[in-house]
């Protein structure tokens, strides 16, 4: 049980770290893009949101499994 809490904490923490780095890279480039070409903002925004969904996928999978481990659902107690 205690090991499960530790494992869940590590999974969620690493996921937050990864999501922070990924989203930071993505949105820094997005902001760079709209500063260079303000008229392309609407086009870039939808592309940035699609990429956000793709980038967020792996951290959120780790968070979902972290929650399952943290609450002791997987593996069974």
């Amino acid at each position: 049980m205690e090991l499960g809490v530790l494992a869940g904490g590590i999974m969620i923490g690493l996921a937050a770290l990864a999501a922070g780095i990924g989203n930071g890279l993505l949105f820094s480039r997005y902001l760079e893009g709209i500063t260079r070409q303000p008229e392309a903002q609407s086009k870039l925004f939808s592309q940035a949101m699609i990429t956000l969904g793709l980038v967020e996928a792996l951290p959120i999978i780790s968070i979902a499994f972290g929650i399952l481990v943290l609450f002791g659902i997987v593996p069974p107690k």
């Binding site: 949101m49 699609i50 956000l52 969904g53 793709l54 967020e56 996928a57 959120i60 999978i61 968070i63 979902a64 499994f65 929650i67 609450f71 659902i73």
Partner: protein, 249 residues
């Protein structure tokens, strides 16, 4: 985390909440599309305008992966997929209703032990897509369809594709084919599941004055994430099908 009523039948476990929520989602999609296409007018009213807007949006999605002729063929498929997942994602956020069950009901899998671990809370509604079985079923159905269409289009092209450009790339191709449906399903499931769990945590722990503001922000974000994920699931489904059926291979 809330318990859900489950029924054992023929060695399989059926989650009644998920079955009910799936049927409700299908009914809502059916009502929206039937009402939106009844009495079509040349100058569309507000509701018809809304449904036509969604249709045009999905047409844009299909035109990104298919050529124009094939895009029209897959239009109803993509529209069904998008509407179903979109409504399913929002259902759990907007209709998160749970009931207090004080007496254990062993026939529905609500034993004393299961109830005590969730403080007698039993979910009446949840997103069907927050259950991994639903997400995996959707993703695997799409993958199997894509493979069948690939074989039907050209069996030789389909099987030689695995050993191109070099023969030693066969394991890489096989891993790729397995990873695609798994990540496709988990991307959807994990987003919706994590969103719902955080809502439940904010609802059940802490004083409402402290968790109220984060809760409202997170509900807004969950609605946004549900929309984005429905869109991404549809885009990836069309991409996976077009990879197997496009003319280049």
């Amino acid at each position: 985390m809330e318990a859900t009523p489950k029924v054992e039948f023929l060695g399989l476990t059926f989650d009644l909440t998920v079955i009910f929520a799936s049927l409700l989602t299908a009914a809502i999609v059916l009502v929206i599309t039937i009402l939106g296409t009844r009495g079509r007018a040349m100058r569309p009213g507000k509701f018809q305008n809304f449904v036509e807007m969604i249709l045009e949006f999905i047409r844009g999605v299909n035109n990104m992966s298919f050529n124009t002729k094939r895009a029209e063929r897959y239009l109803s498929f993509s529209l069904t997929l998008f509407l179903y997942i979109f409504i399913a994602n929002q259902l759990g956020v907007l209709l998160m209703i749970s009931a207090d069950v004080h007496h254990p009901i062993p026939a529905l899998g609500l034993t004393e032990e299961a109830l005590s671990s969730v403080e007698s809370k039993v979910a009446l509604f949840k997103s069907p897509t927050a259950d991994i079985n639903v997400a995996i079923a959707l993703a695997f159905a799409i993958t199997i369809y894509a493979h069948i269409m690939g074989v039907r289009k050209s069996p030789k092209g389909y099987f030689t594709h695995y050993v191109k450009p070099y023969f030693w790339m066969l394991p890489l191709h096989l891993i790729d084919e397995v990873a695609k449906p798994v990540t496709h399903a988990m991307r959807l499931w994990a987003n919706i599941f994590a969103g719902e769990v955080l809502i439940v945590i904010l609802l059940s722990f802490g004083a409402p004055l402290i968790t109220g503001a984060p809760l409202l922000v997170w509900i807004g974000f969950s609605l946004f994430v549900g929309t984005i994920q429905a869109y991404i699931f549809t885009v990836l489904a069309t991409v996976y099908i077009s990879q197997k059926t496009s003319d280049e291979h």
